[in-house]
């Protein structure tokens, strides 16, 4: 084996900056996707638990479809295949954006929303039915009872599995490189291509993913402990 490790090389020139640029894109991509996934996931859960059958069917169909197809296929579908089914105004808006990045956000959030919806649903089902009953009995509507009484309690319960979903999303965001989003993995690959030092390049990327994930996990756990668990034993 004639491989000479050269750690200083991959931080020389612009390479260090490349990694940072990639990291920033990964952060933006993941942050936005987590936000939309939570929103959509919550919406899907409420639909699933509503009394209106068509909404229930839509939610079940959505969740099963997005959970059971590979994420790369979904990314390729949104990027190469969705054109004929998207409405014109949306397409026009999309083409004004960074289309690769926007597609990445759409694919990651629609995919992760399906998993979040299932976690959240199990959280809601673990809240005693009497909570919904008590809140409806004071005149709150179903949506008000959900927003102020049920969901806040359910979120507290599902925070540990939600963290896993967030971490999965951060790691899955690397798949956006397949459509040319210049996120961390893409940039690591660039550095490797320029330096022929793949070991160092991907070690750096690995450590960046690792620290990011650990920070997110720790941050949410602490927030949960300090702010959300008041009032619980």
């Amino acid at each position: 084996m004639h491989y000479t490790f050269n750690w200083s090389l991959i931080f020389s020139g612009n390479y260090g900056q490349w990694f940072l640029d990639g990291l920033v894109i990964t952060l933006q991509l993941s942050g936005l996707s987590i936000f939309f996934a939570l929103l959509l996931g919550t919406l899907l859960t409420i639909m699933r638990l509503s009394d209106f059958k068509p909404l229930v069917w839509f939610s079940v169909g959505y969740i099963e479809f997005f959970r059971n197809t590979p994420l790369v296929v979904q990314i390729f579908f949104w990027y190469f295949g969705s054109d004929p089914i998207l409405p014109d105004f949306f397409k026009q808006w999309l083409y004004q954006q960074n289309i690769e990045f926007a597609t990445g956000v759409i694919a990651l959030s629609t995919y992760t929303a399906a998993f979040i919806a299932e976690e959240l649903r199990s959280g809601i089902l673990s809240i005693p039915k009497t909570q919904l009953e008590a809140s409806r009995a004071t005149g709150l509507t179903f949506l008000q009872a959900m927003s102020y009484v049920i969901l806040p309690q359910a979120f507290r319960i599902v925070i540990p599995p939600l963290i896993s979903q967030f971490l999965n999303l951060i790691k899955n965001s690397s798949l956006a490189m397949t459509i040319g989003v210049m996120e961390l993995t893409y940039m690591a690959r660039q550095v490797e291509a320029h330096t022929f030092h793949g070991f160092e390049a991907f070690t750096v990327a690995t450590l960046m993913y690792l620290s990011l994930s650990l920070l997110v996990s720790l941050g949410i756990t602490q927030y949960n402990k300090k702010c959300l668990r008041v009032g619980y034993q």
């Binding site: 005149g139 709150l140 959300l228």
Partner: protein
């Protein structure tokens, strides 16, 4: 005109006929105690009034309006009727104050300041004015149940329903809840209480009804009910419970 009327009310849970041809009325300011063995339908009867349960036959009329038809605005109906449950059912993630102000702010659309003032006044009235910023878990069962009563009263209801409000309490906490209920009765609140507290029934009930197997078997003033019940089943029940 009575405030609440039941006309030939029938209800089934699947094949189980839980309410059989109920006819009863409650006047404004009246305190009605409903007793009977478990499974007799007494809780269900009360829960039909605010439509936590739906009936299959007959009508329930409140203030001259049928409230059991399909188009009834449930949220409007429920904001007029307070209910207190056996298990308190406070919201564990909210402080006592927020438990009480949630519905007035969201349903009645009153300001937060006004809702909080009302809530603090109600907490004083039920004797726990100093607990407003605690979480439910930090309170004893009796205190939690008093918060639940304050939460129901915050909507300024016309009717208060009590579904075995003291059954989940330790004996030494029962009286603090009953005292709040007695005060409420003296202030003229219309109350329907499902309870086994016969002392309470004797002292504050205007009328007592006894249910068994979904039927009202006995009805009358507490004096009549406790001293000269007519039905054998009532006599047996009273022997058990007194």
């Amino acid at each position: 005109m009575p405030l609440i009327e039941f006309h030939n009310v029938n209800k089934w849970f699947g094949d189980f006929h839980v309410l059989k041809n109920i006819n009863e009325s409650v006047n404004k300011g009246e305190v009605l105690v409903i007793c009977g063995p478990s499974g007799s339908g007494k809780s269900t009867l009360v829960r039909c009034i605010n439509r936590l349960e739906d009936i299959q036959q007959g009508e329930i009329i409140i203030n001259g309006q049928v409230v059991t038809h399909k188009n009834q605005d449930l949220n409007a109906l429920r904001s007029e009727i307070g209910i207190v449950f056996q298990q308190f059912n406070l919201y564990p993630h909210l402080t006592v104050l927020k438990n009480i102000t949630l519905a007035p702010i969201k349903v009645k659309k009153i300001t937060k300041e006004e809702a909080e003032q009302t809530a603090l006044r109600l907490l004083d009235r039920v004797g726990i004015g100093n607990q407003a910023h605690k979480y439910p878990i930090e309170l004893s069962g009796g205190q939690q149940q008093r918060v639940a009563i304050a939460r129901a009263l915050a909507m300024k209801p016309q009717i208060m329903l009590f579904d075995e409000p003291t059954s989940a309490l330790d004996p030494e906490m029962i009286n603090e809840v009953l005292n709040v209920m007695k005060n409420l009765a003296r202030e003229g609140m219309t109350m329907l209480c499902v309870t086994h507290e016969m002392g309470f029934a004797r002292e504050v009930a205007d009328r007592v009804i006894f249910m068994d197997h979904g039927e009202i078997l006995e009805r009358g003033t507490p004096g009549h009910f406790f001293t000269s019940p007519e039905h054998e089943r009532t006599k047996a029940f009273l022997r058990e419970i007194l």
